[in-house]
Structures are given as structure tokens and as C-alpha cells.
């Protein structure tokens, strides 16, 4: 169970898994890099729910989330040629861009007190992410739920506050009334444990 780098049992990539989607997104990025607008529209249709969904979790405000989504996709259009498959999957690349932009925006537009208050209102549904009819996608979502359960409650809480709350480790520590070094290790250990369980290699 805890063997690091154990192969992912779901690695066969049935339709609807992220591996399956990543293959398509990678091809589309190649076309987008050449200015293919149809490929861009397909990329948007495959990923815009994720980008907007993340922005809404972090920013809450609909209009700021819409602005962020627009900026993210403009960045996809401009930077598709710089996508490097060796540095990560297309989805991780896109969500990295999206999270950074959402976090930058929330930190420059809201005080951390506001964010923590808003996060409280939005954090209830996090366990029910990713409802999908695709079999592969459902299996993957179940693996995520199972793997999240291997984290301690405090690890889960710290990672989620940082990710969807847009908080720094210091803000997480203040909010949870915990020592700053403790939060750093919870984030590190929680993400490493999640990675190992999911078989991310």
C-alpha cells in the first residue's frame, strides 16, 4: 500500500480518465501552438469547467472568476508552444496556470480575513467534486476519495485550505492555530502521501 511509486492500478486509461483526456489535450496544444482556433475551442470545451470551477472555489466572486478564466485561456493560446510534456501533463500544466492566477488575484483583491470567511462558506462541498457519468472518470474519482482518506484530518485540512482557500502556509497556521513549521510538514507529508497512494509517477 505504501510502497512509493507503486504503479497505478487504474493506469490502463479507460475512456474518461485524466490519462485519456491528457492525450487529447496534448494533441490540441500542438495545434493551438500553430494558431488553430478550432483546436482552441475544443480545448476550452474539455477544460473550461475545471478552470472556472477552480477559480470559483478560490475567488468566490463570479465576475473575478470569469476574468481569471479568460486570462488563463488567453495564456493557453499564447503559450501553447511552450508546453513541455516532459515537465508534466497538459491538465497539470493548465491547472498550475489556473491556480497561480486565481491565487494571485485573490491575494491582491481581498484581505486574508475576507478569504478565510468566504472559504468557510465554500468548503462544504469539496468532498463531492467531480461527478461524472464516465466510468473511467468515476473510478478515478473513487481512487481520489480513497486516497484522501489515507491523509490525516489535519493534513487534508491544511492542503485544502491552501489550495481552495488560496492561503499561504502562514495563514493556514493562523487559521488553524497551529505552529508554522507544523503546517509546512502537514502540507509536504499530505501531498507526498496522496501522490504515493494515487501512483503519480
Amino acid at each position: 500500500m505504501d510502497t512509493p511509486n507503486a504503479p497505478n492500478p487504474e493506469a490502463a486509461a479507460p475512456a474518461g480518465t485524466s490519462a485519456d483526456i491528457n492525450g487529447r489535450l496534448g494533441s490540441l496544444l500542438g495545434l493551438i501552438a500553430q494558431g488553430d482556433q478550432a483546436a482552441f475551442a475544443e480545448f476550452y470545451s474539455l477544460t473550461s469547467r475545471r478552470v472556472f470551477g477552480m477559480a470559483r472555489r478560490v475567488l468566490i466572486d463570479t465576475e473575478l472568476s470569469e476574468d481569471t478564466t479568460q486570462e488563463v485561456f488567453l495564456q493557453v493560446w499564447q503559450n501553447a508552444a511552450k508546453f513541455n510534456p516532459a515537465a508534466g501533463s497538459p491538465l497539470a500544466w493548465l491547472m498550475t496556470i489556473s491556480h497561480r492566477r486565481a491565487v494571485d488575484k485573490v491575494r491582491s483583491s481581498q484581505s486574508s480575513t475576507d478569504r478565510e470567511a468566504k472559504y468557510g462558506a465554500s468548503s462544504q462541498e469539496i468532498d463531492h467534486d467531480s461527478v461524472s457519468d464516465e466510468v473511467g472518470s468515476r473510478l478515478e474519482a473513487e481512487a481520489v476519495v480513497r486516497c484522501l482518506e489515507t491523509l490525516t484530518d489535519t493534513q487534508q485540512e491544511s492542503v485544502r485550505l491552501a489550495y481552495y482557500g488560496g492561503l499561504t502556509y502562514r495563514e493556514v497556521a493562523e487559521r488553524l492555530n497551529a505552529a508554522v513549521p507544523t503546517i509546512k510538514s502537514r502540507i509536504r507529508d499530505g501531498l507526498i502521501r496522496l501522490k504515493t497512494c494515487l501512483g503519480v509517477s
Partner: protein, 295 residues
């Protein structure tokens, strides 16, 4: 190592400060916090600058851990929500030409690189907008904005605020190159006029306007590089009140070179904003400089 065995390690070897963690040689253990964007801008810069001079083995180990953490996050946190209808159309209609993009060297990690202080610390929607967290308030605000001409909302303020404009028939001797290139055609035109405007955040922009050439040359003087992930974008503000038209992007490298802007005859003013890397379809951040053209 079995991750479970690490749980009892006293606070995982971390200290309260990123700087002390780095000094203690723990940069690789900061990969997850970094990938999660759970550091502030100064801490991110400190980590990146430490890595820049760290042994290659540390850099590689850090990048690998960041990559795995990002894959893990993208797999685990999958909130979805349908974006507003029409957003794709708005994005498609605003796609800039890809050739206009200045391409800084690809970095192994997005955001890796020297950190420069932000020129514009506050985006245009500040607390006044955020105070209305309720959906009704946001919807009302959107309606109000739609009533205005596209893209003009930030501009009107910026142009009006550009108060100190020095106009004069300054001679131009600094640029000596091919007389037939567009740059020199403007600068050596008999009717060239110059205006120098302050750039918010430091430095000035000198605009040399030649109505007979229907073009202007913009030169930035002592303007700091745009913040990481941002570029300067130049716009022409049409006289007829229609939306500003992008004239291209300037990254840190392009800042040192004069830029030629053509087709100024129909423009009332030229403006410069700070925009996300890749540029924007319409100005989204406050104006850092604006100059009337009077062409």
C-alpha cells in the same frame, strides 16, 4: 522511505521562516508548499533565487517533487462549474496573434526566474468591487459595465489622470540607423513632436509623434521590468470612442527598444497597461502611462 514513518519527526525539520529552511539546506522539502502556491511572493522569489545557485541535483530533485505535486493536485482537486455562456465567444474574439508574443526563454518551472516588484500592486477591481460578495451585487456590477463601451471602463480614468504632459519640438539625434526604416522615418520627419509622460511605478515613456507618417515611436526610459507573469501592453484609444486597440506587448527585453505604432491618425491617445503574460484583449489593469496624440 516510508512516508508514514516520517509522521513523528519533529516538525518535519522545518522552521518558521522559509529563509531559515533554505539556509538549513531544506529547499527540496519546500517543493510541495511551493507547488501549492502556499508561499507569498517574497518567499517564492527567495526559493527561486536560492535554486538558481543551488547544485543541479537539488534543482532537479526540487523540480521533480514540484511536478509530482502538481500532477497530484490536478488529479485530486477537481471542482467543476459551468462557465458563463458566451465566455468562449468573448475569448475567441479577443485572441491576439501569436506572433506578437515576445517569448522569454522557457523555464523549467512556470514562474521561475528573477522576481521584480510589481509595478501595479492593485488590480482594477479592488475592495470596492469585492465588498459586494453577493451574487446580486456582482450581477448588478456586470450589467453596469456592459452598458459602457467595451473595454473603456479603465481607460477613461487613466487618460484623464495623465496630467503632466510635456510637449515640444525636441530634436532627435540619438537614433542613427537606416534612414528608411519606419523608426527613423518617424523620428526624422519634419513634423515630429515629442511628449514625455511619467510611468506609474518608475521611469518615463517618450512618445514621438509624426502626423505626416501617421505613426509614433514609443521609447521607455528607466521603466522597471514588468512583474513576473505580466507584460506591458500598448494601446491606441480611437477618437470615435470605440474600444482600445492593442498595439503589442513589451516584456523586459523589449522595454529597452523603441517601438513603432502605426495608424495613429484615428487615435486620440496612446496608453500602456500592465497585463497578464500573453496580453489581454482589452485593457484589464490600470493604466501605467497615457499620452494624448493630437495627430
Amino acid at each position: 522511505m516510508n512516508p508514514h514513518e516520517n509522521d513523528n519527526r519533529l516538525p518535519g525539520g522545518f522552521t518558521a521562516e522559509i529563509a531559515t529552511d533554505l539556509a538549513a539546506g531544506r529547499v527540496v522539502d519546500l517543493a510541495e508548499v511551493y507547488a501549492l502556491n502556499a508561499v507569498d511572493d517574497a518567499e517564492r522569489a527567495a526559493i527561486e533565487s536560492y535554486l538558481a545557485s543551488a547544485p543541479a541535483a537539488d534543482r532537479d530533485a526540487f523540480s521533480e517533487r514540484v511536478r509530482q505535486a502538481r500532477e497530484t493536485l490536478a488529479t485530486s482537486f477537481t471542482a467543476e462549474e459551468e462557465p458563463p455562456p458566451g465566455l468562449l465567444d468573448r475569448i475567441m474574439s479577443s485572441l491576439p496573434a501569436q506572433a506578437a508574443q515576445p517569448s522569454p526563454a522557457a523555464a523549467p518551472l512556470p514562474g521561475t526566474g528573477p522576481q521584480t516588484p510589481p509595478v501595479m500592486p492593485h488590480p482594477v477591481r479592488d475592495n470596492s468591487g469585492m465588498a459586494a460578495t453577493d451574487e446580486l451585487g456582482a450581477a448588478r456590477k456586470r450589467r453596469e459595465e456592459r452598458r459602457r463601451p467595451q473595454g473603456m471602463r479603465n481607460w477613461l480614468v487613466g487618460v484623464a489622470a495623465a496630467a503632466v504632459i510635456a510637449l515640444g519640438g525636441v530634436g532627435v539625434g540619438a537614433y542613427v540607423a537606416n534612414q528608411n526604416d519606419p523608426l527613423n522615418q518617424v523620428l526624422q520627419a519634419s513634423d515630429v513632436r515629442q511628449a514625455t509622460v511619467d510611468v506609474n511605478g518608475g521611469g518615463t515613456a517618450t512618445v514621438s509623434v509624426s502626423p505626416s507618417r501617421d505613426a509614433a515611436v514609443v521609447r521607455m526610459n528607466g521603466v522597471p521590468a514588468p512583474p513576473v507573469g505580466k507584460v506591458y501592453q500598448m494601446w491606441l484609444i480611437p477618437k470615435d470612442g470605440s474600444a482600445p486597440v492593442s498595439q503589442g506587448l513589451m516584456d523586459a527585453e523589449a522595454l529597452s527598444k523603441p517601438a513603432v505604432v502605426k495608424g495613429i491618425g484615428s487615435a486620440a491617445a496612446l496608453g500602456i497597461t500592465v497585463e497578464p503574460a500573453g496580453g489581454s484583449a482589452k485593457p484589464t489593469l490600470p493604466t501605467v502611462a497615457a499620452a494624448p496624440l493630437n495627430a
